[in-house]
């Protein structure tokens, strides 16, 4: 079996606090929020499993060695299943689109979407998800924004919109970067104001 200390990237002589810190940093790195609707989510899930097992193993070893007091457990309840979309819905065509997306068949999902006559909120939402899976980030945001504007109370659409606000994993010392905020706080204020204005127009913003 792989050395659990190697997985956690700490020395076997590290203190409990250092082990916990290393574990938390890795858990933050592979958190499902950073891999929402991401084609590599399964690999991140695998990594998270490996880290959880390593952390639990270290805890067990240390406990056995010296009547060690119980530590906080691992985050094994993290779920990566959020990238699966509910398939209940009135429109049979869009239901088939959701099944195709859940099966990872993006080409089929797009083909079906192009057949649809009516471009309602759900159509825009699903088109946004298809674009996002393809890496078409600007189009994805436009479609999901439209879905939010057409149906502002839909929780599923609002949750999808949050994908665009997640700043992803940034290690200590690198946090808070953005192209327009890099070393320029005026731009940050301007962009924040602009984002709020655009997003609240679609009632998708928490700010």
């Amino acid at each position: 079996m792989t050395d659990p200390y190697k997985v956690l990237n700490v020395s076997p002589n590290a203190t409990d606090e250092e082990v916990k810190h290393a574990y938390r940093e890795l858990a933050r790195k592979y958190h499902p929020d950073n891999y929402h609707d991401n084609p590599l989510a399964d690999l991140a899930q695998e990594k998270m499993k490996e880290i959880n097992e390593a952390y639990e193993q270290v805890q067990r070893q240390r406990k056995a060695r010296s009547g060690y007091t119980a530590q906080q457990g691992s985050y094994s309840s993290y779920s990566y299943s959020s990238t699966s979309y509910q398939t209940a819905g009135a429109d049979p065509l869009l239901r088939r689109v959701r099944i195709a997306i859940n099966n990872g068949d993006i080409t089929q999902a797009e083909r079906l979407l192009n057949e649809a006559q009516e471009h309602n909120a759900d159509w825009n939402f699903l088109m946004g998800i298809v674009c996002h899976r393809r890496g078409w980030m600007d189009d994805a945001k436009r479609y999901i924004q439209t879905a939010c504007q057409m149906d502002p109370d839909n929780a599923e659409y609002r949750k999808a919109m949050e994908m665009f606000n997640n700043s992803g994993y940034q290690p200590a010392g690198f946090r808070g970067f953005g192209s327009m905020t890099y070393g320029n706080s005026d731009c940050m204020r301007l962009c924040a104001a602009w984002s709020c204005c655009v997003l609240s127009g679609g009632r998708c913003c928490i700010c």
Binding site: G168, Y169, Y182, L190
Partner: protein, 299 residues
């Protein structure tokens, strides 16, 4: 390729800076050794990053080499490896087709410089095509798609960026490990998308003056020759989305000794370079030996 991607030098230790320089010099030596002296002029930062990524998990040794730029003292350079060979072959193939694209886009006299460069590179291209035949086919197909979309004045940033992004994701085919290949494909797709959009933003004013196609003009229905603040913010957000996708793919790789260099690229300098381009303060860096005078560009 355009040479935008480089590490945030101020974040690197002396050893890490030296390591990046060794990859850069190693690629230069490989270009010269395999494809002749003229091919050395194709050396750029983007392909140095590619060589580094493709070399992860392999035994990369650094030696001391002499060259025209460093004739007496020599410089540290990554020793020959399959990652450097691949990066060099892809670099020549892609540059060749970009030259052909420029020749097709300009009149006979305006394209004289490009024609001359193509003449110098013809032999190098033929050798590189033999080394990377699949990539050569992919590049031709994607650049053809790109010129069709440009001719149709495509108003979607993503549709316009897709051919170049797909083309870069083909670089992943050089990786034998299936899981790593998936990670590379995702990382290179967004690297390609980011490079294409940063280049479009960088060229926006020139394109507006010359009347050349620029996806940003059509996406945001702009009529002037400068980006507005709203467009800058929107572009910044979409560039950040690609950087985050790259970072989430990079997090799945074991970067080993390259961790410092690659962290500084995916968590820092891409934001700085994109921001500098959007604010109109970006200056293309000169060759690496002058890095000390240009490292402040991204701040």
């Amino acid at each position: 390729m355009f040479g935008y991607v480089r590490p945030a030098a101020h974040r690197l230790s002396e050893e890490e800076n030296e390591r990046f320089r060794a990859a850069y010099c190693g690629l230069c030596h490989t270009l010269g050794r395999k494809y002749g002296f003229a091919a050395r002029f194709l050396l750029n930062y983007d392909f140095t990053l590619l060589a580094i990524l493709l070399s992860l998990g392999t035994d990369t040794r650094i030696g001391c080499r002499r060259c025209v730029v460093h004739p007496c003292k020599g410089c540290s350079a990554m020793n020959a490896s399959s990652a450097l060979d691949t990066a060099a072959a892809y670099s020549v193939v892609l540059s060749w087709w970009q030259l052909q694209d420029h020749i097709a886009d300009h009149g006979f006299f305006a394209a004289l410089g490009y024609r001359f460069a193509a003449l110098l590179l013809r032999r190098a291209y033929r050798k590189a095509r033999a080394d990377a035949a699949d990539f050569d086919t992919a590049v031709r197909a994607q650049l053809q798609k790109l010129s069709e979309r440009e001719a149709a004045h495509c108003a979607s940033l993503d549709a316009a960026a897709e051919p170049f992004a797909t083309l870069l994701s083909q670089l992943a085919l050089a990786e034998p490990d299936v899981l790593k290949r998936r990670v590379y494909a995702q990382l290179f797709y967004h690297l390609g998308r980011w490079i294409y959009l940063v280049d479009a933003a960088d060229d926006f004013t020139d394109d507006a003056k010359s009347g050349n196609y620029n996806p940003i003009r059509y996406r945001y229905s702009l009529s002037g020759d400068a980006l507005t603040d709203e467009v800058r913010c929107a572009l910044g957000e979409t560039l950040d989305a690609s950087i985050r996708q790259m970072a989430s793919a990079y997090a799945l790789l074991d970067a080993g000794a390259w961790t410092g260099v690659l962290d500084s690229i995916f968590y820092d300098s891409l934001y700085g370079i994109g921001g500098a381009v959007l604010r109109g303060v970006y200056r293309k860096p000169s060759r690496l030996r002058h890095e000390q005078t240009t490292e402040g560009d991204t701040q």
